[in-house]
Symmetry: C2
Subunit: 236 residues, 2 copies
């Protein structure tokens, strides 16, 4: 049985429902999403195999998840560096940024240099609301992510991939296949084309919401906020 997925439109509707009828605040959801991302990094990149994590953040919610993840990574003992070229004026993102600056987490504007000094990369550039073309300054960043040999964990989607149709046939993301992907709340249709390790986060969904959106609640272990699943939908 294939893994049940959520279209971009349904994912947006589910998020909206969590925050309206579900009574979650975006602060809460982003904290839990970022925590999940940080736990996936912890599994993929053990602390004793290189602590430097470059977190590339886009202008929207995906970038916000990256900012939260970076904070938790700092507290686990990692050395995160943030690339966040299009900083939103949104108050939440500004607060998440301030929380990192208070930890003296460095922000860089020079992605190519940062790439030479990291052990792992989090791609939190574009999430499930991405469509259309990759805007500046991200084309070069995505090319670099495509070409690097350093492992990349993509948050919700490999940036520049089409949410429904997967890898782009042209443009900077053509041929971009991250080592790992963490799907937040539910996998998007693009997972069908994904060939790396796949994690699922979102241990807050109610059974009712899962049923309504035709999702299966994965079996998390112990206190884990993530679970590794294969693309066929089985737990590893």
């Amino acid at each position: 049985m294939a893994l049940r997925t959520l279209s971009a439109k349904s994912a947006a509707a589910l998020d909206q429902e969590l925050m309206s009828a579900g009574a979650f605040s975006i602060d809460q959801l982003m904290e839990l999403a970022g925590l999940s991302v940080s736990q996936a990094v912890f599994k993929l990149q053990p602390l004793n195999q290189g602590k430097r994590i470059l977190v590339a953040c886009g202008p929207g919610n995906n970038g916000g998840d990256g900012l939260v993840a970076a904070r938790h990574l700092f507290h686990y003992g990692y050395q995160p560096t943030i690339y966040y070229p299009k900083q939103s004026k949104n108050e939440l993102y500004q607060r998440l940024t301030k929380q990192l600056k208070d930890l003296k987490v460095p922000f860089t504007e020079d992605f190519p240099s940062a790439l030479k000094e990291t052990d792992h990369i989090v791609d939190a550039i574009f999430g499930f609301s991405f469509s259309g073309d990759v805007r500046e300054p991200f084309p070069k960043v995505i090319e670099a992510l495509r070409d690097t040999k350093i492992p990349v964990l993509a948050v919700d989607a490999p940036s520049s991939w089409n949410i429904e149709d997967g890898p782009p046939g042209s443009g900077p993301g053509k041929g971009f296949m991250p080592e790992a992907l963490i799907s937040l709340t539910a996998p998007k249709p693009l997972v069908k084309w994904f060939e790396g390790r796949h994690f699922l986060g979102g241990r807050f969904l109610t059974p009712e919401m899962a049923e309504k959106y035709n999702l299966e609640l994965p079996k998390y272990q112990d206190l884990d906020q993530i679970v590794e699943v294969n693309i066929e939908g089985g737990k590893l």
Copy 2:
């Protein structure tokens, strides 16, 4: 060396600073606090030794931490029941309550009966802002917590204890000694009189804030949001 503690006044100042200069929202802090509490329950009460958790919530932030903890406990596989007799009209607590109701977590108004059908209790009635007398309907609840043989985990303070001076010499809380205590962000002076297992939560404090408030950042393991410490300040 004794564990460094934070007076009620300093704890309030630190909380305020986290939310002003520190740029944390109360949603974020409460989510992380409640997550810590849920992890302490997971350590104290393994799932295969009884899943029923009675969470007694007071009207303020301590109760809010209990509501968040109960939600996470549900997702871990526990069966929480909430006693929350003085429900605040505060929007945040109402949302946390709704999140539990959406999971069909039961709310009870009958504490004595609930006590007969639980394996573990979380005392989230009063926290570090408590002082003075225990108001209705809590005196009987605290007497029941004092007299029960079911293990109790107190959040930040055994309810009715004086934050600076510890166990009360009279009243319903006289002789109340929970099995365990989780101190959020930092232990309060009352820990000097506490004789049970002691956990610390708050893996978000910056080194600067810790220095300013003369606290030691504990050494958390792996992804843990809590650490068990002895009252002398050493890690167990």
